[in-house]
Amino acid sequence: MPPKKKIFTRRKVCRFCADKSLVIDYKEVKNLRNFLTERGKIIPRRIYGNCAKHQRQMTEAIKRARQIALMPYSGQMQP
């Protein structure tokens, strides 16, 4: 068997840790929108490499925004 090909992946860094000026706030839907699929699901943190802390804060913010109808529970988000 040939040796397994090594796949190099760039280590993903949490963008909230890298840029402290980014604040996670449920009122700022524009920023949260990047972390949703087209269907309105929250994207898992393995995709963007968010750290656990910030992913937690983000999901919390998204869920709040959903509660007050700033974001959909499901389906497309209108601009």
Binding site: V23, I24, D25, Y26, K27, Q57, E60, R64, R66, Q67, I68, A69, L70, M71, P72, Y73, G75, M77, Q78
Partner: protein
């Protein structure tokens, strides 16, 4: 005193006068309980992400204030009774109210806040 923020959505079919009346009433309740309004913001008519009570649009009002838990309970009790309020949400941002920390508060927010939400 704690620092809270409340968002409530008013039915868009009610008039401008009624909207101001609702807001005045809310602020007076908060002040009755020795609270103080820090920031009152009319976001205005916004499209709802999903229909609430068959309405597709809502008039958003955002209020940030210092107050006691009893004030929040009273405000929410009134909101529940009022048909014109489509939905509301109150979030605690600080356990102990610090007067001027409009930006610094954002860091603490995630650590201390706690949700007190009820469906309209």
């Amino acid at each position: 005193m704690r620092r809270y923020e409340t968002i409530f959505i008013i039915n868009p079919s009610v008039g401008e006068d009624e909207i101001t009346a609702i807001i005045d009433k809310t602020t007076s309740i908060i002040e009755e309980f020795d609270g103080s309004i820090v920031n009152l913001d009319h976001w205005g008519l916004k499209k709802l992400a999903y229909p609430i009570k068959k309405e597709l649009q809502g008039y958003y009002v955002f209020a940030e204030y210092a107050g006691k838990p009893e004030a929040v309970a009273e405000v929410e009790r009134i909101f529940k009774i009022d048909d014109r309020i489509l939905k509301f949400m109150t979030i605690k941002t600080q356990d102990v109210f610090v007067a001027d920390a409009p930006k610094a508060e954002a860091e603490n927010t995630e650590a201390t806040e706690e949700e007190a939400q009820a469906d309209a």
